[in-house]
Amino acid sequence: MSAPSRSRFGLLAAFACVCFACRPAPVPPEVQEAESLQPALERAGASYLIPAEFERFRGGLINLHGLVARESAKYGWWRDYRNVAEEGRRMVALGRTVLDGALSLKEGRAGRLREGAARVKERMARLVGMTRYFNEDDAVRKALAQAEIKLDGMDLLSRSEKFEEAAALLADASSFVAGAEREIVHLLERYRDVGEQRKWTRWAEETVADAKARGTTAIIVSKLERTLTIFKKGQAVAVFDIGLGKYGLSDKLYQGDEATPEGKYRIVRKYPDTPFYKALLINYPNSDDLKAFAEARRRGLVPGQSDAGGAIEIHGGGKNKLTQGCVGLENRDMDEVYRIAEVGTPVTIVGTLSVEGTILAEIGKFLMP
């Protein structure tokens, strides 16, 4: 072979080696597809949503790298990427499963949080509506405020896809709402007592019947319904909205407890001009009140040197005021009551005369299993 021929042969041989060594490396496309799934999994949050599955995928990917490297290191004739392709397909399948799982979990968690928050908000709205029935709502409002703050935080976390932390805040919010519900149930426990309900109904009926028999006027105050009803000859002729003491739903026990008393009373004085507009003084404490006070003192329930109290009136000045235990009305309503009532007019104050359509019916829902 001549020198030029040898050169040309050498060139051709070298070219052939280059072509062979660098033949389109049949690194299977499945390998790249598997590789591209990892960032997709990270964006989907698989690393924290389903960490075990994510790590399994990552580990598999590292093994796949190893397989590719081993095959690629071999000379052309000895490379066999079939195992690599198979492993690549397995990794793609695994990656897609993990990705679907992460996305599904994410949407599922977000959806559950939304539903949970909606249920808690519904309970909160119901409780806020109930607080209009009573003044003793400090603890309830505090708990509801805390629940609202927790829900707000939950929303921020949910939007950042921090679902576990968001779920914890949702549980906290629900817990606060449950506390508020328990507080209301406790507050109105006495009102749910059938014996108490019957006693109040009997008082009211006796008062109205007696006034009817005498042909006179009677006044019935119902604390839970926040109403003052005037009866003439046994018929209700006017109903007015009222305000009560700070702890108006409780039965007054001693001076300064800010509770509104329950019982059968009479108007003993009429005052045309007081700091609270017109006023009608009733004869609290009556004999039953004094007996209850004595018993309470004996049991240590009366603070200091307090006595049973007094100066309980029906007066004007507004129904949204917090009285010291009196029954408050708007001035225009007080004008009417003052005009109709006389000294000696019976005034019976009860806890409630109705269960249906009141807060007591709503409470039943808290107590449902």
């Binding site: 280059v18 690194v27 790249q32 591209s36 309830v140 405020a145 805390q146 005021k321």
Partner: protein, 196 residues
Amino acid sequence: MKNLTKSLILVLTVAVVLVGCKQPTAQIDSAKAAIDDVLKGGADKYAPEELKTVQADLSKAMDEIAAQDKKFFKKFGTAKEMLDKVKADAEALKAALPAKIEAVKNEAVKLQGELQTSINDVKELMKKAPKGKGTDKDLAALKGDLEGADAEFAGIQKALDAQDYIGALNTVKSIQAKVAGVKDQIQAALDKTKKK
């Protein structure tokens, strides 16, 4: 001599091509390790957008590798540069994280102080509210609301102590919203009394 030169050139060409044929596996692993490091440092909380950018760049680098792999003459040079940039960016992000965390912490502490002032201001406003003007019940209810906000305030310090600065910041914002609402309602109740 000429033939020797030509052979040498060919050998070098072969070597270059062979080297260029290999996937930059080491750079891939290196870039991914750098991103993992940044994740462990809390980048997902304190620099989420920067983290997403780095992760997206990694995806682009992987796509470039995939594209080159399909070719006869592969050139992974660009992909390597992209991977090197991903690694450098991840490392830079890791270096910047402490400052970002500190900034969030400082913001949370600052807002915590402002919130305490807001709560105190609302308490004072409530004390000054005229009593017996038909607003008692509203004000009593709002007092309960403020007590709730006050009770949650302690959670801010708890989060700061646990170095959960994002958590502290979120709590501050939630309480701020509630206190602002209470203040507005107190003001509305007071305005009602003035109209009477």
